[in-house]
Symmetry: D2
């Protein structure tokens, strides 16, 4: 994804807490990037990250950072509620922006960020890191080339004995992973007709500790997500059922992460006019199974490469701002549904993939 | 469960199609039973089953069968829509009755059967065969003795590449198994507050080919069932999360069907008055796992034994008529919810365990 | 494998004990065969099998049976020590013969049977039933077409908590399966340079309860078999490592019995003369995995079909007499090695595939 | 294992290559130890490790290091052929010594090291790191307390697609792990009667790429090890069959690493005098399975803690010098057997656990 004839772009990382150091390390070592600064209100923390990343400048003021001419782009890894103001300032200062997920704390603010980036002709990217893992990239490729046919259903399970979080419920803690992956692999992104969310708080923790999302798709299919903090066993599995083949992704089986099954049900067409459903011929395929080899690459390295490439090519990146917006839209609808006892909640018109014009 | 001092009871099987021969074989070989007759409109079919079961009489008229004095009980394995009239006639003729699932074609008719059996002081049993497997009996025992603590959630998955049935959707084809098992293991039986059912027919088969049932429980917990005809892999798994331990039943792993995990999340109580939720202490147990050995016994043999024992002891059997009624009630509510786009549907007051008085 | 233009051949089964009824049932239902008689010293037992197979004649004398003109072939399922005399009599009476494994109680007698069959131009077949399962047939096909390349190693494991047999040790109880399968899939059959067998009787049962066979192959490769009656878990697994691909057969995983891995180590050739080993380039392939679909067919049905086809086509069947002879030769060498504390024991020149000339 | 009332001991690490940094890091952070120096001929390499471990001195001469009074103990992580001279010098200088495995390049030299340490009253320890993992510690505890009964057999498999090493064969690359673990868990350590090793080099790599070790135990049992560089799948499994229970360790299954099966074969004793084997009653246990929870602790941290404790308590450590000597003895016998075509080779009298007297 890199273009080695061009000089590297200059990046700064804002936020030196949990995720910032990972961004800094990857930006510092990527051929496409120079890491020029690390910014945090806590100068010592920023200095430590800068030192560990080969000696970038330390900044303790976002304003001063954004005023620098030698910064092409910023990576924001601050608390979610500050994503919007910092990203807006950066965009207005003419910087390309990548934001740790969630893109913003509300869909409305995220939409504003997308709009401003579009107006300014700048890249706005969501750091959906999982979407750059070899498994998800391969799934997206298989779906895009039609290897699975039409997507009939997706069933995603992400359960384990997890830390009950102080500030978010299981939905906001775990489901963003599933939803961002769905957004990356479904043709056209994650655009369910709506969502019904059912949850439970059987321990009295004050928030849902397990939840189920049912999301009817426009083509009559269904996506479903099960997230659970109370499971004694750990499962990370996604089944993507297609009209041609069905894929199973078992992320905890390093020896066979992806399996593509040439098995399924075929509903034949009956030639006779007026033939009813009952006359449709049903047949079963029981073909081979295929497990593609996956390269060993670090997802975050590919993410920062894609960020650089999208800036250079003046195009929307994979996991652009609208991707983050769609995920937020579904999460907000799911929360509303959960609060309303599982009532079906439509996902308001959320963004479409933007074109970035230089 | 048998009392070898008593003489065997006399049974007849009505219906010699798919399931009747299994009932006949088990009644013919059980120490508690004599199989005295096999009844089917198709005399040849009845004769074949009678021969294979050691020579019972052949009857081609239900009326004549029920008029016989030497028949204590009948096992009904006819099409579902005929369960009600045949069972009602049998009960009115003073016979104890066991009915292949579903108990009746509607909950209303099932309720009438339960009422009449109760009025007559006769045993009415539903043949929920799965509930007599060693795994389910052990689960029920563990729940009853408190080994799991309070039930916080149940997640049941029953998926495989299955035959698209001509007359029923995936809900009525597969979910009765999960629901009857839930009824057998949950304290007090399956009595959810209601049910939301989400399904899809992505192939255009004219009926749901995959479905999800969310069933909030009275104690704040949740039961959830996933049934699917389109999965390339076969899964039969139920997780029962309890406040003390969590059980995983993997029915396709004969080497370790049941696993009981002493792992979980504990929410401590804070002593100070006015302490809010946030102050509650959360701790995690990561204890041993235990997999109980299971005997190798045939479920249907235990079922007919329980039928005999309940008659002799003038008590309700496991999987009595009210169990069948509760399962039907949830299925009907689920169908209504499915038709209404997943709308939460309460399960009307369904039967409680009856006492049979001789 | 059948030729439906030819009239069926006439078969008789000799021995109505454990295995005879299976042979009778398959011969009775195969399009290539008429089952004309069942023979056993115990006439009642023979009659019961004959009745269950659609009404063949009952014979209680092998001599009278072999004197019948309407018997083309016999299937022998009597105790192992009687295989030789009965088969010799049948061959001398001009009948084609299939014998339940082992072909005879000693290699010497088996060799005599092979010789006589060859002299008479008759088919002599060993009923290595496992070799007709869909999995083994597919493995043999893959090896034969070169999909695996040269066979570098085979590792076979057959362990479970097994019945300690009164008359044989674990080697003779379980290893015949592995060895007959190896014979069916290795190019040219099972012809190790020799065998070292290590066993143990840690319970003091009077015979080996676990054993390991190491069998160097002529090409520098190695076949190894582990059989064990004392394992708490059941494993049936064979790994066949080839220079091009490696196959894993997990017979207890019905969802993925065969996996073909395009992974391996490649040793490159160095062009320079005098280049030593250390200069050889080593590279690794980490390619895709492929799991071929397998049909659902009954092995014994295919076996009797192959028996008929080999007679009609005047050719040696798969699992002919020499296959049985090779397996016996390795078992005898293994027993000798076991008795000598694991001493390497060569497998004497055992038979080559015979041609049957009509 | 630490005694926080005593002042820390002073350690130096010799060798700053692959393993030395891990030893340095653990010694630097252990409460029982001060890391006072890192020694390597390459001063830059030593300096880098010293810096990364909180600022120990840098030494480039072993002699100067051993002359220091402030060094109580050394950890040697240099190439195997230098273990003997460095350890001997250190022992003669009065330092306690821990040596990366293998203890020495020959059993003879290892025996000399053990003798000198014993004469000097110093601790000599082998860094068999694997023996300090939670799984191996638990297994050793279960065996020691008799939970498994007498050890009847051990079957260990360590296979994967591995790097063909330039200097050692698969036996010396992988089997030391299995043998050191066997030494840690078998009562009295690894003391087989002898060993037969069978190997193959089917690629022509100039050394064995797969090997099998059969090791009869004194009690009539058997230990067996399978190591293989050519397997497409990765397996790390050890089965330890006991007269009371059988343990399976699957190191690649983090959700259930250890399983203890209460299943087995029991050979009853017949009371009657003159009763022969055939009369012995055989019965089968099919009891529960139990999987003990394991703590999450770093093995190397426990190893350096045990090193300190053994020095303080003037006792032999777990994995003392004689343990390293026994493992070397079996490896040397296995190599001799391999060279002799699998000939049974006795393991010469190897060391017994020493007592360290201050």
């Amino acid at each position: 994804m890199s273009d080695h004839d061009s000089p590297p772009l200059n990046a700064a990382v804002i936020g030196a807490g949990y995720w910032g150091p990972n961004l800094a390390r990857n930006l510092a070592t990527a051929p496409d990037w120079n890491l020029v600064a690390v910014c945090d209100l806590d100068g010592d923390r920023a200095a430590k990250v800068a030192r560990g990343s080969g000696g970038a400048d330390v900044e303790t003021s976002v304003d001063r950072l954004l005023a620098r001419d030698d910064v092409d782009a910023v990576a924001i890894a601050t608390p979610a509620r500050t994503h919007h103001p910092i990203a807006m300032a950066a965009l207005r200062a003419g910087k390309h922006v990548v934001v740790e997920k969630p893109l913003a704390d509300t869909g409305e603010r995220a939409a504003e960020m997308v709009q401003v980036a579009s107006d300014q002709g700048l890249v706005l990217m969501t750091d959906h890191t999982y979407c750059y893992t070899p498994a998800v990239l391969k799934i997206a490729e298989l779906v895009a080339e039609g290897a699975l046919g039409d997507i009939l259903f997706v069933d995603s399970i992400r359960i384990n004995l997890g830390l009950v979080q102080p500030d978010v419920d299981v939905l906001w803690d775990l489901a963003p992973h599933d939803l961002s992956i769905l957004d990356a692999v479904l043709p056209g992104g994650l655009r369910p007709v709506g969502v019904s969310a059912h949850g439970a708080d059987p321990l009295g923790a004050g928030k849902a500790c397990l939840a189920y999302l049912s999301m009817p798709l426009e083509n009559g299919g269904m996506a479903h997500v099960h997230v659970n903090w109370l499971s004694p066993t750990k499962i990370r599995q996604m089944v993507i059922g297609g009209s041609r083949r069905t894929l199973v992704w078992d992320d905890l089986n390093p020896q066979q992460r992806l399996s593509v099954y040439d098995r399924g049900v075929d509903l034949g067409q009956t030639a006779a006019a007026g033939a009813d459903r009952a006359a449709a011929t049903i047949s079963y395929r029981l073909g081979d199974t295929w497990s593609p080899a996956l390269p060993e690459t670090e997802a975050l390295g590919l993410m920062v490469g894609e960020f650089a490439a999208s800036i250079r090519e003046s195009r929307a990146p994979r996991t652009d701002g609208t991707a983050g917006l769609r995920v937020l839209g579904v999460l907000e609808a799911a929360s509303a549904s959960l609060a309303a006892g599982g009532m079906f909640t439509s996902t308001a018109a959320v963004g479409t993939h933007t074109e970035v014009l230089a």
